[in-house]
Each structure stands twice: as structure tokens, then as C-alpha cells.
């Protein structure tokens, strides 16, 4: 009886230690705290999906209005940095079914109109909406994930400001 209890305790510790070991393989410092399963993972997946859509929008806008490259390229790079930081937080167990949100851009973004002012206006609206949406999802998240999402939302809000400024000055 006593021996069985002990074995159970050992097993419980082993199971509990697996996420920590898995995180250790990639460097705990680089990854931060692995997200808990549950609502936090759903928020991460949703945010990753939104970043893919945003990146597709920028690529489509660049194709439609190459004159905007100097304005749009740095912003696109920042969205790619968001995506990388978000994906680093999502640890997918080996053998888990592939998630559409992790297999690359699911579909091309909406076709951007060609006039630069319209392209900038459309992207600015998308950035503002993304920032608002992220800010509403912070409650209940771990402190470090909440800070990351709040910082990404701040970045997106500043993108909207930059795009509106460039639109005004041509």
C-alpha cells in the first residue's frame, strides 16, 4: 500500500515534469513560460491566425501598390516578428494533429485596391481593428502572454497611425 502510493507520487511528478523538460530542450529563457492548455492556447491560435491574415494583406498590398514599399516593408517585417514571437509560445506536442493555423497562410488576403491612398486606408482600418480585438482578450491570460499581446496591440495601433500619416502626406 505504502509502496504503491510512493510509485503513484513518482509517476505524478514525472508527468508534471514533462512540460518543463520539453521547454528546456528549446531553452526556457527563449520561450518563457509554456502556455497552459485551455483558453490561453485558443487565444494564441486566434492571434497567430490573425497575424497570418495581416501578413497576407500586406503582401497583397505590396503587389498592388509597389510604390508603397518603403512604408509597408518595415511594417510587414514587424508583423512577421509578432508571428515568430507568438509561434514560439505555442508548443505543439509531437503527434498532435496539424493545425491549419500553423501550416502557413491559409488563404491569400483580400485583394487590395491599387490606389495607394486606398491601400493605406484599408490597412489602417485592419490594424486598428486588430489592436482593439487583442486588447479585449487580455483578461485571464498569464502575465507574460498578456504583456506580449498588449505590446503587439500597441505596435498595431502605431501602425494605424503611421499609415494614416503617410496617407495624409502622400
Amino acid at each position: 500500500m505504502r509502496a504503491e502510493l510512493k510509485r503513484r507520487s513518482v509517476l505524478a511528478v514525472t508527468v508534471a515534469a514533462v512540460p518543463a523538460l520539453a521547454a528546456g530542450c528549446k531553452g526556457v529563457g527563449a520561450l518563457g513560460t509554456p502556455p497552459r492548455e485551455g483558453p490561453e492556447v485558443a487565444v494564441l491560435r486566434g492571434t497567430i491566425r490573425a497575424e497570418y491574415v495581416m501578413i497576407a494583406r500586406y503582401r497583397s498590398a505590396l503587389a498592388a501598390a509597389p510604390a508603397l514599399r518603403a512604408t509597408l516593408s518595415p511594417v510587414l517585417s514587424q508583423h512577421e516578428a509578432h508571428l515568430a514571437a507568438l509561434r514560439a509560445r505555442l508548443i505543439v506536442p509531437a503527434g498532435a494533429p496539424a493545425q491549419p493555423s500553423l501550416s502557413g497562410p491559409p488563404r491569400p488576403g483580400p485583394a487590395a485596391p491599387g490606389a495607394p491612398a486606398d491601400v493605406l486606408a484599408g490597412l489602417a482600418v485592419a490594424e486598428s481593428a486588430a489592436a482593439s480585438s487583442l486588447t479585449r482578450r487580455l483578461a485571464g491570460l498569464s502575465p507574460s502572454l498578456a504583456q506580449l499581446l498588449a505590446s503587439i496591440a500597441a505596435s498595431e495601433a502605431s501602425h494605424a497611425t503611421l499609415l494614416r500619416t503617410r496617407r495624409g502626406t502622400g
Partner: protein
């Protein structure tokens, strides 16, 4: 029970003190920047300075309500780089806003949903002002690269 409240509020008070310290540094910094800016940007710096004064008073009230003594401003602050031109002054304003955003992200780390939400909105406002000053954006305002 008062000791329970104090225990709950200790992280909030520390985070609010950090915001207050960043606000006090920014009040000093905007004063330095304003002296080097042309008339239009100087008016913007003065407005930011006035809003920061109001924020400092709000933060002092929030701390007092938690039984904490608001930390006093220092007489002077070390600037991150020399400020001898309008361009450097605008860069300083952008730097101050990023430091403010970092302090507001400290509120986002709290469990209190109201402080978390308020901190997130303030961090956004800081990032927007930084972009107005510098004409640039960053991927992670307020977070160390």
C-alpha cells in the same frame, strides 16, 4: 482584513510606483525636449507635458487609495543621449514614450482586470505618440528586444 488587502495590493502598488517614476522622468525629459523643438512640435511637447502632470496626480491618488506613499520625482534625470537638435529632441520624446509603455505593461502583468486593461490602453497611446514623434514604428513597444 487589512493585511489581506495589503498583500493583494502590493504588486499593484509596486507597478503603479513604476509608472509614476516613468511619468516623472518623462515630465523632466519633455521639458528638455521642448527647449530644442521648433514652435509646432514644442506645442505638442507642452501638451504632452501637461497631460503627464495630470497623470502624475492621478497616479498619486491611486497609490494613496492603496495606502502607499507616492514616490517623489528626482531633481534631474540622466538623458539616454545628448539632446542638442530638434531631431534629437523628437528622438528623446519617442524614447520617453517607449519607457512609459514599458511601465504601463507592468500593469498589464497584474491580475486585476481593470488595471490590466487600463495599462494596455495607455501602452497603446504611448506607442502612438512615439510614432508621431519619430515617424517610425516598432514590433514590441515597451518590451526589451
Amino acid at each position: 482584513m487589512p493585511w489581506v488587502n495589503r498583500a493583494t495590493d502590493a504588486p499593484a502598488s509596486a507597478a503603479l510606483q513604476a509608472v509614476l517614476a516613468a511619468v516623472n522622468a518623462a515630465i523632466y525629459g519633455y521639458g528638455v525636449a521642448g527647449a530644442r523643438l521648433g514652435p509646432g512640435p514644442r506645442a505638442a511637447a507642452q501638451q504632452a507635458w501637461t497631460e503627464l502632470q495630470a497623470m502624475r496626480d492621478d497616479l498619486a491618488s491611486m497609490l494613496a487609495a492603496r495606502g502607499a506613499q507616492p514616490a517623489a520625482a528626482r531633481a534631474a534625470y540622466q538623458l539616454p543621449f545628448p539632446v542638442r537638435s530638434p531631431h534629437a529632441a523628437a528622438s528623446l520624446a519617442g524614447y520617453l514614450e517607449d519607457r512609459l509603455a514599458a511601465a504601463y505593461l507592468g500593469l498589464v502583468a497584474l491580475e486585476d482586470p481593470r488595471l490590466r486593461s487600463w495599462g494596455a490602453h495607455q501602452a497603446q497611446a504611448c506607442a502612438v505618440r512615439a510614432t508621431v514623434w519619430t515617424g517610425q514604428t516598432t514590433a514590441f513597444p515597451g518590451l526589451k528586444p
